[in-house]
């Protein structure tokens, strides 16, 4: 997988590039701000651009804006936004508009190279990725009695993986289940939550997230 890394903090940018290189990822470019990132992407056409959400000049959501720009002008280039924000609002701003080839992870993940590489691979293959911490907050949030209470432990696990953007095969591998079992779980979950059986993978992720956020 070929990636470009964008972060205004030199230590982080270099460290991340090094870590990814050690893990066998091909880092083809580095950028310190949004403009440079867009230039690098234009030049190197990577598989995925890793973007810090806060970048100069205002340190608010420049990274998110740049990610949208990349997804719009280079549909073949995926984006992985790294963020401090736990609120699903920021992740949804990215995923709702460009569910395919987009990912949103908390910044702490950078040291967990396995998770990072897995996310990069999934994005390169066209999936969408959402940080497990954000998903578990959504699943575990305090709520009034709902259809969620009727799900079994296992079904809740599957639901969380669906929300993280895993495909059925991904869930099989994660939970060591047969494809048939996973399909059954998924069907039950969608039925219990009243979500129409969405054939499209991306639409299914968004529908699950919308349910969890409501």
């Amino acid at each position: 997988v070929r990636v470009v890394v964008a972060d205004d903090e030199t230590l982080l940018r270099e460290g991340l590039a090094r870590l990814l290189a050690d893990a066998g990822i091909d880092v083809v470019g580095k950028a310190g701000d949004a403009d440079e990132l867009l230039r690098r992407v234009e030049l190197t056409r990577p598989d995925v651009a890793i973007v810090d959400i806060r970048m100069p000049p205002t340190q608010t959501d420049e990274g998110l804006v740049a990610a949208h720009e990349i997804r719009r002008s280079h549909p073949a280039v995926g984006v992985l936004v790294l963020s401090h924000y736990l609120e699903s609002h920021y992740a949804m701003r990215l995923l709702e508009e460009h569910p395919e080839r987009s990912g949103y992870l908390l910044k702490d993940r950078v040291k967990d190279v396995a998770v990072l590489v897995d996310a990069l691979n999934r994005i390169a293959e066209g999936e969408c990725v959402l940080d497990p911490t954000i998903v578990s907050r959504l699943v575990g949030r305090p709520r009034e009695p709902s259809a969620l209470d009727e799900l079994t432990e296992r079904e809740l696990e599957v639901l969380a993986l669906m929300a993280e953007g895993h495909s059925n095969e991904g869930i099989c591998k994660k939970l060591f289940l047969s494809p048939k079992t996973v399909e059954t779980h998924v069907r039950h979950i969608l039925l219990k939550l009243g979500i129409g059986a969405a054939a499209d993978y991306h639409r299914r992720v968004l529908a699950v997230l919308a349910y969890l956020r409501a």
């Binding site: 736990l86 702490d108 305090p142």
Partner: protein, 566 residues
């Protein structure tokens, strides 16, 4: 004393009128009025109207010298007829000889009051001195071709040449000033704006017409060298009589209007005794003064600036006249209005006296409001400064400390991969990395608690939905406005909701809606240990309100209203 004088002068005026008419009828050929009924009406009508009106003004001590001037003009109008050989009486003849031309400057003086002083002085010099008193000193009738003339009581020397020269200069100068003032009268009327013109026209129109007629009379006399009464002059005289009657009526109309204003003032006293007027004193005063755009401002004690009844700062526009209402030597209020509307000092006094209590009341209220506004805005600034500081802290934590910690854990990770052979080192490093993870997570929570960045980025609705994701209790979300509001408003509304969500033990219901210019936030919770004081402070700084209602089953409804300026 003055009233006795006025009474005496009235009698004198009536007598002078009748006498003038009697001599004029005696020998019609020589007089302006002659024997015709029209002449009699013109002579007495104009003369008596002016005398009566002037004396009435004088008697009521109204508008300074206006009354005496008008009355004097009336007598002077009658005296014009006395400058006549056929009058018989030497005393009456001498008076007529000296003062027959003095009516125009007196009328001009009354009409223009304090304006155009130079022209009026010239008028007195030309019409009283050059055409009257001075030539009279040198006029000896019998030797200067007037065998019929009675004796001139002020004769000094018999100098026909001096008389003729003085008359010529007097006629020229008289034409000059009267024509100038006639033009000035019409220019003033044309240039004046709305309310000022409404106030001025009743006097300026007939006054200007009269002076124009006088100028025409003088122009007609220039070839001759003295003021005469040929056919044209008599017609002009008739027209002057009409114009002078107009002046008297105009003055009366002005007085009537002033009277109406005073009646309004009297009504004001009665109304103010009951309750403050709706729309404030300004509306009432605007009606009395006759200027709908009148501005009523109160000087703020010690601050050197003006405020309106609501305590808001006022700037008086340069194009207005400012009348200061004074009580006990210190200014109570300032009225800014169109020029010429409050020249009646009596009216200003009446207004000040009548509205004294109400003025004082409104001024004090304005002052309190101004001080409250100062206090409120200072409170708003303190709250805003606090919010800005929290926001800065949140950013510093995210962009500084947290960023460093993440970089540090990344470095540890890199170091670990280099230490693959040292089992003990790897174990220690993993322990350190785990500690670091906890620190990072704690820092993130801390920064999040200091200020929710999502509120500034996404607004109230987004922030409340985010709050529902990690609050300790379920939050039922009703309506939420998607619109953005000023950050102080969003922060205040959010704080109310977040505070309720933090202290609640079972669940919280949130409903927020923008109605008109007020953002209504309703939070239903079960807890009563809320720090309402802090919330009230925050809302008060924005002129908002907080209400708490305790319902059945221990539920508490908090209602916050924040003006949102949209």
């Amino acid at each position: 004393m003055r009233l006795a004088l006025v009474a005496a002068l009235s009698t004198l005026g009536i007598a002078a009128g009748i006498y003038s008419l009697a001599v004029a009828r005696d020998d019609p050929a020589f007089w302006f009025a002659g024997a015709s009924a029209r002449g009699a009406v013109a002579l007495l009508g104009a003369g008596w109207l002016l005398i009566g009106c002037g004396l009435a003004f004088w008697a009521r001590r109204r508008a300074g010298g206006f009354g005496p001037l008008l009355a004097a003009a009336g007598f002077a109008w009658l005296l014009l007829e006395w400058n006549n050989p056929g009058i018989g009486s030497p005393l009456a003849f001498t008076a007529g000889l000296c003062l027959y031309a003095s009516c125009p400057p007196l009328v001009a003086h009354a009409v223009f009051a304090h304006r155009a002083r130079a022209a009026i002085v010239v008028g007195y010099v030309a019409n009283v001195l050059l055409l009257g008193v001075l030539p009279a000193l040198f006029f000896d009738g019998p030797s200067q071709g007037c065998a019929q003339c009675p004796a001139n009581l002020v004769l000094v020397a018999d100098r026909g040449d001096v008389v003729n020269r003085l008359y010529r200069i007097g006629v020229d100068l008289g034409f000059l000033w009267s024509a100038t003032l006639a033009v000035l009268a019409f220019v003033t009327l044309v240039r004046g704006t709305g309310a000022a013109r409404r106030a001025a026209w009743p006097l300026l129109v007939p006054g200007g017409v009269y002076l124009a007629l006088v100028a025409a009379w003088l122009a007609d006399s220039r070839a001759r060298g003295f003021l005469g009464h040929d056919t044209l002059d008599r017609r002009l005289w008739l027209a002057q009589a009409v114009a002078l009657a107009g002046v008297a009526l105009g003055a009366g109309w002005g007085a009537l209007r002033a009277h109406r204003a005073r009646t309004a003032v009297a009504r004001l006293v009665v109304e103010l005794a009951h309750s403050p007027p709706p729309g404030g004193l300004r509306t009432v005063l605007a009606q009395i003064v006759g200027d709908p755009d009148l501005v009523l401002a109160y000087p703020l004690e010690g601050a050197g600036r003006l405020v309106d009844a609501q305590g808001r700062p006022v700037e008086l526009s340069a194009g207005t006249t400012q009348t200061v209402l004074v009580r006990d030597g210190s200014p109570v209020a300032v009225l800014a209005h169109a020029r010429g509307l409050l020249d009646d000092e009596q009216l200003v006094d009446d207004v000040t006296t009548a509205s004294r209590l109400a003025l004082e009341n409104e001024r004090l209220q304005a002052e309190v409001r101004a001080r409250l506004e100062q206090l409120r805005s200072s409170r708003a600034r303190i709250v805003a400064a606090g919010d800005a500081e929290r926001r800065r802290l949140e950013r510093d934590l995210h962009d500084g400390a947290q960023q460093r910690l993440v970089a540090l854990s990344l470095s540890l990770r890199l170091l670990r991969s280099r230490l693959a052979t040292d089992a003990d080192g790897v174990r220690r490093l993993d322990a350190a990395a785990a500690e670091l993870d906890r620190a990072t997570a704690e820092l993130r929570e801390l920064a999040h608690g200091i200020f929710p960045a999502v509120l500034a980025d996404g607004g109230l609705a987004v922030a409340v939905r985010a709050l529902a994701e990690d609050g300790p209790v379920p939050i039922r979300i009703g309506r939420l406005p998607d619109a953005r509001f000023p950050s102080a408003v969003e922060t205040a509304a959010y704080t109310v909701i977040a505070e309720a969500a933090t202290t609640a033990t079972s669940s919280v219901g949130v409903d927020a809606e923008c109605r008109g210019t007020v953002l209504h936030v309703e939070v239903e919770t079960d807890d009563t240990s809320l720090d309402l004081g802090a919330l009230q402070d925050r809302l008060g700084a924005l002129e908002g309100r907080l209400g708490v209602e305790r319902g059945a089953g221990g539920r508490v409804t908090i209602r916050a209203e924040v003006p949102c300026g949209s």
